[in-house]
Structures are given as structure tokens and as C-alpha cells.
């Protein structure tokens, strides 16, 4: 409950709106993978360049690894999306989301000299929307709002209660 004192209303509002928007986006990314029959990250890994190219190659060569990655990715996105929208385990959801997006970014970084066969929907040099979204999630982890606008409030109360009893 400490945050209440540190945020002004505009600060709190924009942070919560940002949280809802990113949560919505990741949740739909996850659901769309469930809804497309036979969806696979095969194509994504095939495009992988730079430091994760070796990992991508390994995943592509092993059908089992690919299905594990597909499962973790899909349900990870859904869990992170729900966490951000509900404000439940907000810090953990923000940090996992940031790491996942960073992983996407590092698989396809828009660096000079790396050519991709699938065209991007915008124009990027070093910085891409994925990277920005990843950093935005870091911001949400640093300024968590889940215990004000979110189910984290109950968790915090429960923790406080426990501490009070000990005292």
C-alpha cells in the first residue's frame, strides 16, 4: 500500500492504462495461437538470426522441443496477459513478459546486415516495437500498480495480516 502515497492520480491512471493495454495485447497473442489450428513457431524460428540462431536450429531439429516451446509460449502469453489485466502477481508477470518479449526481439533484431524473408509491418533500425514493449513492461515492474488497481491488493493485505499477527 506504500505506492498510494508515491503516485499522483495522472501517474497512476497512465500506468494502469498501460498495464491493461499490454495485458490485452499479450492475452490476444496467446489466444490467437490457440485458435489457429496447427499453429507453430516453426516459421518464427526459421527466421531466427543473431545470437539465438543456434538455439532456434536446435528447436527446429527436435519436434518435441518445438512442441514444448509452443506450449510454454502460448500459455505463458495467456498467463502474463491475465496477470497484467487482473493485476495479479503484477511484478512477476511484468518481468516474465519483458523477458519473453526480449527473447522475441533477440531472435529477430533489426540490426544492419540481418536480412529477413518476411517483411516487417514498420521500419525499424536497432529499436523495434517489441523492444519498446519489453521496456514498457520493465517500467510496470518498477512502478507496480497491482496492489492498488488489482488483485495483488488481497495478497498484500494477507501478507500484512500475517506480519501483524507475528508482531
Amino acid at each position: 500500500m506504500k505506492e498510494t502515497k508515491t503516485f499522483t492520480t495522472p501517474q497512476l491512471t497512465t500506468l494502469v492504462v498501460l498495464r491493461f493495454l499490454i495485458g490485452w495485447h499479450l492475452l490476444y497473442e496467446g489466444f490467437s495461437k490457440v485458435l489457429i489450428p496447427n499453429w507453430s513457431s516453426f516459421g518464427f524460428f526459421q527466421e531466427s538470426k543473431w545470437i539465438f540462431a543456434g538455439f532456434a536450429k536446435f528447436v527446429l531439429a527436435h519436434d518435441n522441443a518445438l512442441s514444448v516451446v509452443d506450449f510454454l509460449n502460448t500459455w505463458g502469453l495467456i498467463a502474463i496477459g491475465l496477470g497484467l489485466i487482473f493485476g495479479l502477481f503484477t511484478k512477476m508477470a511484468s518481468i516474465s513478459g519483458a523477458l519473453l518479449l526480449l527473447l522475441y526481439y533477440l531472435n529477430n533484431p533489426p540490426f544492419i546486415g540481418l536480412e529477413y524473408s518476411v517483411p516487417t509491418e514498420g521500419n525499424y533500425l536497432v529499436v523495434s516495437k517489441t523492444l519498446i514493449e519489453s521496456v514498457a513492461l520493465v517500467v510496470l515492474a518498477v512502478f507496480p500498480t497491482g496492489s492498488i488497481f488489482g488483485l495483488d491488493m488481497f495478497i498484500e493485505r494477507y501478507k500484512n495480516l500475517k506480519n501483524n499477527r507475528k508482531e
Partner: protein, 531 residues
């Protein structure tokens, strides 16, 4: 949970001092702020799903394609019928595929299939209840391979290798004279196809013959008459239309999805020495085995002009017009059969061919770049064949109609035409997207393999994919052989029967003569003659 919360709120409502455990109503509402957001999300998600489904169903319904299902493969006639005794004439690379289709395999290939992961699929292939009882090959090494294959106890479909001696015949005439052979499969170089097919029919043996059927009109007519008068079951080796995809395509053609088809474009796109039939050296650049001692050269030559033995001629016979009609016989035959099975085009009115040897300038007769135009004025249609052996850019096999184009390969992809009248409404309503296929079928979708993936996903996202087709891993040559054997046992006519073979033979000979004689070749349907 929600009820508990309400109870906790009550003290505040009564303006009593709240105990420490209670939560203020405002705080509680704030904590649950995610619920309306998720509610809105769920509403949007359901709406989106409904929209996508309706869009897909509407187009499929408009096209009459919503009920397309995978064809059922009937059980083999083998279980009820008698054992069929088969003789293999020629045991080179193609005959190995035939033997595999019959459920036989060479001991060395068992290991190879294990490594490539194709053994399981092959072992699951249904038993056709056949015995390979005869092998005939002019090359000792090939004949030995054939005998080892026929005697191998490892069989597909859990079958037992029949306890019947396997005999090597020195000549095909010797095999045809043997009463203990019911049917023959011919996989020799092409100059033997028609004469052996004719002789086998006259001997009362059922015939499965590899393409191409004949090198000239006389032997084609002779084989036609021999097969027609014998009552045997004849099947030409065009396994491609056995693919699940072709059965779907027949439905698409029947439902007139493409509109009036006026142009069909077929192509060959290869760019390697092997693809240009330079095959007398092994992977290390050494000559492949075989000499005059181990190969019966005069028998190999048959009625063709006598020339000294050479591994070049033995392994690369496709390059020489004495043994084959080049690209037309080797590859266009498959294209013609594919189109003929779907559209029943028959013999063209006229053919014009043009081409030359532009890249592979060795001792070949075969052009490496060739174009043939087949005219069908009665059908308001032209069939085009364009081949190159010096560029591998994939140009596909495309049926072009007034309202849509269909590319037919290992998948079907139908793209609406921007100027289509039939689909004008759907195009304007945004139901049909012109930037990608409006319908695509892929029998292997759902299976992750190197061929599909990125592009397939790209198509799947832009077009409409139905998944009613179960991925069938059956070998098409097996299915083609099965059709032939089922017809032998149960009666009926196989798809690549003698009528189709004759139409194809004439079309190919017309194209070949046009190339040789540099003129437009016509078909005289009254006198049944090429003029």
C-alpha cells in the same frame, strides 16, 4: 469469494468503525478493475471468432466446397483374392519403387529406410497378397538385387514371403512363356515399353508399364490393339493422380470454381547434371558399375541401331532419341496425364514445339529447353508445356480460368481473378482477398516438415484452409499398383488405362515430331493418324 467480500464491506455501510481486516468498498472496486477489462476482451474475442468463422464458411459455402472430404481408400483385394504371381522386367531404380509398392524390399534398403525414418510408414502399408516370382534384367547386378528383394523375409503389412522359388529369366520372352507368371511390371528403358507391353498382352499377362508408352506410331498402335484384344488389365505408370490432392481437384473442377478454363500451363524446372540425365558417374565421380561382360548389350539395344557399349548410353539413355523422346517422354507424360485425368482433354488437334540444346552441350539429342503448345479448339483450350534444365525457379502447374487460377502441386491453391465476374460481389465485400489464395488445401498441414512452415503459414493466414483432409502418408506408387491389382481381381478399368495411354502417346509423339520436323503437326481423327 464474492459473497465473503460483501459481508466484509457491511460494517463500513453501517458507519461503524471498520475492523482492521475489512476492506473499503472503494479499495475493493479498484482491486477488481481488471474484470471489466477482461469482460470487454472476451466479448471482442468471441466477436472476432464469429466473424472469422462466418467469413470462411460463407466463401466455402458460396463455392460449394464445404463438404469436401478426404477420399476413402478401399481395403486391398488381397485378403479375399488368390495370390498373384508377378514378374518384374527391368530392375533398375524405378523397379525398386515398384517392389516397395508390392510390399517387398531389398535387405540393404531396410537400413536406409530406418535411417531416413520411412521404414515404419512402409511396414504399415497393406499387404496386396502378391509374390514376385520372376526377375528379368540384362544386367547381372540389377538381376541379383531383384532376386534378393523378392526373397527378403522383411515384408510390408505383416505379410509372409511366399514359399515359391524366384526365377531369373534371361529374356522377357522366356518370362512371358512361363505359365507361372500372372502379371508383369515393365521398368526398362523406354524403347522396350511398347514391344514388351504388346507381347505380354498377347501372352495373356496383365501389364503395369512405366511411361512413356511408345516411341513411334506403329508400336503404339500395335500395343493398343494387343491390349484391347487380350482382355488383360493395363495400367500406365502415372502415380501422381493417386495423390489425395487430385481427388479434391476433381471436385473443384466439377464444381466449376475456376470458371471457363482456356489455358493450362505445365512446366519442368531443373538445374542439375542429375536432372539433365547425366547419371553414369557415382557420387565420387567414378564410373558406375557395368561392362559388356555383366550387361547383355545386344538385348539392351533391342531393335535400335547397333552402337558400341558405353556406360553413358546405358545409364543416360534418356538423352538419346533412339531410346526415348527426351523431356516429352520423361516428364511431360506425367503432366499430360495429370491434366487429362482432370479435364479429359484427349488428343490435341495440333501441336507446335520449339526448343534447343542451350546449356548441356554434350552428345545428347534431347533439347534442354523446350516449349510445346497443344491446341484443343473443340475445348476452347490450349495446353502449354514449358521446360528448362538450366533453371530451377518453380513455375508450378497452373489451370487458368475466367474467374480463378489454380496451382496444383503437393497442395492446391486457388486464387480469385481480379477481373472475375462470378466473384465480383465477394471481392467487393472483402470476403475474397486477392492478395492470397481464396482456398487452399494441404494434405500435410498439421505435420511440421521442411516443405511447409513459413510459406504454408503465410498462405493459411491469408487464404482459407480446410483441415478435413487427414494427412495420408501412403506412397502414391503403392496406390497406383493397388488400383491395378484390385482391377485384376475384381474387374474394372484402372485410371491410367490403355485409352488414356493411347491419347497420351499420340500427344507426345505429335510434340516430338514437331520438334524434329520444325513444323505444326496435326491429328487426323478420321483415319486415326498423325499428319
Amino acid at each position: 469469494m464474492a459473497q465473503d467480500k460483501e459481508k466484509e464491506i457491511k460494517p463500513e455501510e453501517k458507519n461503524e468503525p471498520a475492523p482492521k481486516t475489512a476492506i473499503k468498498r472503494r479499495t475493493l472496486i479498484k482491486a477488481l478493475a481488471g474484470i471489466p477489462v477482461l469482460g470487454l476482451f472476451t466479448y471482442e474475442l468471441a466477436a472476432k471468432k464469429g466473424y472469422d468463422l462466418e467469413k470462411k464458411n460463407r466463401v466455402l459455402k458460396d463455392l460449394g466446397l464445404q463438404n469436401i472430404e478426404a477420399p476413402v481408400i478401399l481395403p486391398s483385394s488381397g485378403a479375399k483374392g488368390n495370390l498373384l504371381r508377378i514378374g518384374l522386367i527391368g530392375f533398375g531404380a524405378r523397379a525398386v519403387v515398384h517392389a516397395n509398392g508390392l510390399g517387398y524390399i531389398h535387405p540393404n534398403d531396410v537400413e536406409k529406410r530406418k535411417k531416413s525414418g520411412t521404414l515404419e510408414d512402409w511396414l504399415a502399408q497393406e499387404d496386396l497378397n502378391v509374390a514376385i516370382t520372376g526377375i528379368c534384367d540384362v544386367f547381372d547386378l540389377h538381376a541379383e538385387n531383384g532376386l534378393a528383394t523378392a526373397r527378403n523375409p522383411v515384408r510390408a503389412g505383416g505379410a509372409k514371403t511366399p514359399d515359391i522359388p524366384v526365377k531369373r529369366y534371361r529374356t522377357y520372352q522366356e518370362m512371358l512363356d512361363d505359365k507361372n507368371i500372372d502379371a508383369v511390371m515393365i521398368a526398362t528403358p523406354d524403347h522396350h515399353h511398347a514391344p514388351i507391353s504388346a507381347a505380354a498382352s498377347r501372352a495373356g499377362k496383365h501389364v503395369y508399364c512405366e511411361k512413356s508408352i511408345a516411341l513411334n506410331e506403329e508400336e503404339l498402335n500395335d500395343a493398343y490393339v494387343a491390349v484391347k484384344n487380350s482382355g488383360i488389365v493395363f495400367q500406365l505408370g502415372h502415380q501422381i493422380p493417386q495423390s489425395v490432392i487430385f481427388k479434391q481437384t476433381k471436385d473443384i473442377i466439377k464444381k466449376d470454381i475456376l470458371g471457363k478454363i482456356t489455358l493450362v500451363e505445365t512446366t519442368t524446372n531443373r538445374n542439375s547434371a542429375d536432372g539433365a540425365w547425366i547419371r553414369h558417374l557415382d557420387a565420387n565421380g567414378n564410373p558406375k558399375p557395368g561392362d559388356e561382360k555383366s550387361i547383355d548389350w545386344p538385348q539392351w539395344l533391342g531393335s535400335t541401331p547397333v552402337v558400341p557399349f558405353s556406360t553413358n548410353r546405358y545409364y543416360n539413355w534418356q538423352k538419346f532419341f533412339a531410346y526415348e523422346t527426351g523431356l516429352i517422354g520423361q516428364l511431360f507424360t506425367h503432366e499430360f496425364d495429370a491434366v487429362n485425368q482432370l479435364l479429359r482433354i484427349g488428343i490435341p488437334k495440333a501441336v507446335v514445339s520449339s526448343g534447343g540444346i542451350y546449356y548441356w552441350k554434350d552428345d545428347r539429342d534431347m533439347p534442354d529447353t523446350l516449349h510445346c503448345v497443344f491446341e484443343y479448339p473443340d475445348r476452347d483450350m490450349t495446353l502449354l508445356y514449358s521446360a528448362t534444365l538450366a533453371n530451377s525457379r518453380s513455375r508450378g502447374r497452373v489451370f487458368m480460368g475466367r474467374d480463378a487460377s489454380m496451382e496444383l502441386g503437393s497442395f492446391i491453391s486457388i486464387t480469385a481473378d481480379a477481373e472475375s465476374i462470378k466473384y465480383k460481389k465477394q471481392i467487393e465485400a472483402g470476403l475474397i482477398d486477392l492478395s492470397g489464395p481464396m482456398v487452399s488445401f494441404n494434405p500435410t498441414s498439421g505435420k511440421i516438415d521442411a516443405v511447409s512452415s513459413a510459406t504454408e503459414k503465410y498462405y493459411a493466414e491469408r487464404g482459407l484452409t480446410t483441415t478435413t483432409i487427414n494427412g495420408s502418408e501412403l506412397d502414391v506408387t503403392y496406390l497406383h499398383i493397388k488400383e491395378w491389382i484390385d482391377c485384376i481381381r475384381n474387374g474394372g478399368t484402372p485410371s491410367a488405362n490403355m485409352e488414356r495411354a493411347f491419347e497420351e502417346g499420340i500427344a507426345c509423339l505429335m510434340a516430338h515430331r514437331s520438334y524434329l520436323e520444325h513444323r505444326r503437326i496435326e491429328w487426323d481423327p478420321v483415319n486415326k493418324k498423325i499428319v
